[in-house]
Amino acid sequence: MFKRSDESLIAKALNGDQHAWQQLVNRHQSALFYFGLRLLGSQEDASDLLQDVLMVLCRNLGQYRGDSSFKSWLFGIANYRAMDMLRRRKYTDSDDALAQMPAEAAEMPEQLANQQQQQQVQQQLRKLPIEQRLVLELKFYQQFTFDEIATQLAISSNTVKSRFYAALDKMRLQLESDHVEQSANF
């Protein structure tokens, strides 16, 4: 079936077409919610972020000029709002909500096969500084290029790469220390 582009849906929505707006929201709200969930650590915060981003999107829909892809523009808003939320609540990695996430997900039988590896990745991600975590999130979970991430975060492409490799190295060190801890426990 013919799928309308984001740009055509925006144009229709700007003319008052509520169906087009709903299509646009349905297309991107899952990605936004899971983005919030990974970054903020709780469903409530992810839901708040989703609502917040949709409200900002609705107010500023007419400002989208098509210079970048709509998804990139939308995640530019989401990044800003998420960072704002984290700054306001003084988010820490020891948040209880983060620890509850794998337990909730483990109830689903489809996840059991790769559960251990995913938990490990999620834990390593949570231990990263928020700027580095954001870069990895945008690179691997949202499939943006380094240039798109740089545009969204209003930093240079080299800074993005620097954070990216620093995050990968930090994850490697965490993995090594985890192995050391596990060996010591045995």
Partner: protein, 215 residues
């Protein structure tokens, strides 16, 4: 940018396969570990998520921001246009509505025959009219010609009379001149001779110094 970084980024962008990248980075454990981390994160990103996305009714928000009340539309212009189109169609189509003896009849006519008949009638009428006009023109021409002939005849007659009269006058004048000339010649040449000559038995009176003496 180091060569290994270039290889790694080429693999990230899909320009190199996993095997090619592993083969080229096999002697650099740092880059190999980075690669393993990336593979783990890619696997995590590709895994389905089962958390329920909360329902958020953004339609009210959208309606408040972007939807405008629909303008109240009057249907009268559309109705008027539709009726006009219907009237035009009825007038152009071969359908005929006839109200006869209190009953409305819709009939379809053979337009071609009707048009042929109408053309034929019009042509006949035109022919008749043209003939009438030609006759009138002919009659008028004849009358005109007769009038002109009469006028020409009168003119010629008048001219002839005038010429005749002129000729007669000239003749009379000529004759008078001739007589005058003869008389003058006679007076000059014969009168003196005549005055002296008288026969004896002339009956005519002969002038004398004392008066007329009859023979």
């Amino acid at each position: 940018m180091s060569n290994n970084q270039q290889i790694f980024e080429d693999w990230l962008e899909g320009k190199l396969t996993e095997q090619q990248c592993q083969q080229q980075l096999q002697f650099d454990p740092v880059w190999l570990d980075r690669m393993l981390n990336v593979q783990a994160m890619r696997a995590d990103a590709a895994a389905p998520r089962f958390e329920v996305v909360p329902e958020f009714d953004s339609s009210a928000l959208f309606a408040k921001q972007w939807q405008r009340p629909k303008p109240q539309r009057s249907w009268w212009p559309q109705v008027s246009l539709a009726l006009s189109c219907a009237a035009m169609l009825i007038s152009l189509s071969p359908a005929q509505l006839q109200l006869k003896d209190g009953s409305l009849t819709l009939s379809w006519q053979n337009t071609e025959a009707e048009v042929n008949a109408a053309v034929s009638t019009a042509l006949t009428a035109y022919q008749h009219e043209q003939q009438q006009w030609l006759l009138q023109q002919l009659d008028f021409q004849q009358q005109n010609t007769s009038t002109q002939l009469v006028l020409l005849k009168d003119y010629l007659q008048n001219e002839l009379k005038h010429d005749q009269r002129s000729d007669m006058l000239q003749l009379v004048e000529y004759l008078n001149q001739q007589r005058q000339s003869d008389w003058q010649y006679w007076q000059e040449n014969y009168q003196p001779v005549q005055a002296n000559y008288r026969p004896t038995d002339s009956y005519y009176l002969s002038p004398t110094n004392t008066g007329v003496v009859k023979p």
